[in-house]
Subunit: 397 residues, 2 copies
Amino acid sequence: MTDFAAIKAMFHLPEGMIYLDGNSLGALPKAAGDAVANTVTDQWGEMLITGWNKAGWMAMPMQIGDRIGKLIGAEPGHVVVGDTLSVKVYQALAAGLDMRPDRKVILSDSGNFPTDLYMAEGLIRALDKGHELRVVPPGEVAQAIDKDVAVLMLTEVDYRTGRRHDMPDLTRRAHAAGAVTLWDLAHSAGALPVDLAAAKADFAVGCTYKYLNGGPGAPAFIYVAPRHAGQISTVLSGWQGHEAPFAFDLDYRPNAGAERLRVGTPPILQMAALSAALDIWDKVDMWDLRRRSMALSDMFIAGIEAACPMLRLASPRDAQARGSQVSFAFDEGYAAMQALIARGVIGDFRAPDIMRFGITPLYIDEGDVQGAIDIIADVMTNRLWDRPEYKIRAAVT
Amino acid sequence: MTDFAAIKAMFHLPEGMIYLDGNSLGALPKAAGDAVANTVTDQWGEMLITGWNKAGWMAMPMQIGDRIGKLIGAEPGHVVVGDTLSVKVYQALAAGLDMRPDRKVILSDSGNFPTDLYMAEGLIRALDKGHELRVVPPGEVAQAIDKDVAVLMLTEVDYRTGRRHDMPDLTRRAHAAGAVTLWDLAHSAGALPVDLAAAKADFAVGCTYKYLNGGPGAPAFIYVAPRHAGQISTVLSGWQGHEAPFAFDLDYRPNAGAERLRVGTPPILQMAALSAALDIWDKVDMWDLRRRSMALSDMFIAGIEAACPMLRLASPRDAQARGSQVSFAFDEGYAAMQALIARGVIGDFRAPDIMRFGITPLYIDEGDVQGAIDIIADVMTNRLWDRPEYKIRAAVT
């Protein structure tokens, strides 16, 4: 059994704050400070350039990739860390389109995080081959998969509502229609059990600064299935993905496997923080986490619905159909969230009317949930956002 | 006058090491440790998601960009920090090709850093429109500029030899032929005076972990001339370059200016280190630095040539024609460099036979240069690399 009280003690949490925004930026693991300081002082400062070998910097994108891989059911050696999620979406999407040259449709949904759609638009403009980004409502994805679809690109858990797609089922349907799948796990990795290998996913990407607690601007990750790794094209063909990066050949030859998805020099300080954050996951059973996430979320929904009839649940009521966040719709949600933040309950707002609360069981417990319910009830019942002292500037992202 | 002794005291330098590899990874500014620790503990730890506004994280890519811009003669608001140099090359190159749709040639030289060529290859493969990467010897670039050239892509200072291109002249020639220019400043920014505006450069990119001392994996930068900024296409159209990133619109609309070159969430811990490193540059006059770089390099060349006749100068003898490094060719250079590293003189090796020494006047002085000469003379004269105790594993990059 995962000891969640012990896990919570591994995080630094600000005094007087109930932090329900770990789905946007995870809390600080106490060990991250020393890990980063050590990397700066003892590695950069003392080893200088030799740190690439002596401190193992060069191997970190694959080593950390494997640690993330364990949390998302990836085969060893097939998750690579680096860049931003946007860049990784582009990289996977380009490889996916290249696998289906006779098809022109990227199918996605309106619940996808906008940058995934933007990167698809940019790639389509660059390729200039008549590709089409087809965006349908989340509930119509299954029916929209047809023989024209080259890549089905979805975020498993909707960033606004927390609605969760059925990854194995949609992957199976995509494959039956001859399409390649690209899953964005931004709100899945560290939030719930994912089994990419069992789902037979083709590509996946994700970020590490949300539920994985890697810190602000922590690098992204990309997964490619072993059956594709040696064949995929690498549109972002940087030197770190070269078969022999230090031969400094003038011609590009991709690494034999998934490591070809490396691009440029990796961010060592960010990876030091991320590595410390991943140590915590060694002590967590993902199914324990999921059960606790669902129980805390159900408790939160019940408490809010009982106390705040003006809030309308915007997340699925069935816990199995959600990720690890709960959202409520409210016309004055932006102002109300500002007042909540001023009162120490940190959630966030997503246009047009979504008040979003992340449930991160590594450092949120029943006491936090009850405390949040009590404050939200006070703020909503008394319309505190109408009072001038609560009109602070809201947090972003 | 720049007080170089005071500047040197701002760096941590390992005991017993003469570090001539600042052209690969710059030394640690003493202030960087506290800056990063503060960002981790006081910002990430205490502000959590509100750090994006409260700590100014969101503004850092443009603010730090302007600080770098001052060192390379860029107009304010036209240098953007983020991603890796490889990704920034791709981004600039795609925008440049898009500006010349009727031309099919990317002209570069064999002295370019390989990843620039690899990224061009990847872009050409993706576009699949018959573009050609034409690679000529460095001395033949001027003659090779013709009406077929869409983009002239060059690294100003050759990473192996230190040979420096004439940026204003080649830019003028490129423009006369109707081509767009992309300058890689990896070995220029912080190494010598650069004046992008005066040279009328179109695009520039560079990294910040070499002469700018931003730390391992520090982010890259990209410059676009003001006359192009509002028109260029953004193939990597991520949400941070959107006109209104927090509107979360489904459609991409680029930011009105150079900020459209932002892509994904920026690496805050790396930027904290970089920002501390840039504080040092406020106290440095770039022309003082250049004079000192040339004097120290000339001293190094004279000393080595006097003591080590087996080493052949691989850098231009004329200091004006060099960047801020000195290279020697030697058949057994790899083994000899291993022995040098074992003796505390850190340079690096670049295939096939280049022994490379960076001259970084912020923290290298006459005593270091003389000390290095003495040790190199001992190692070379006595062929220390033949002795088993000197066969250590070499540093990379």
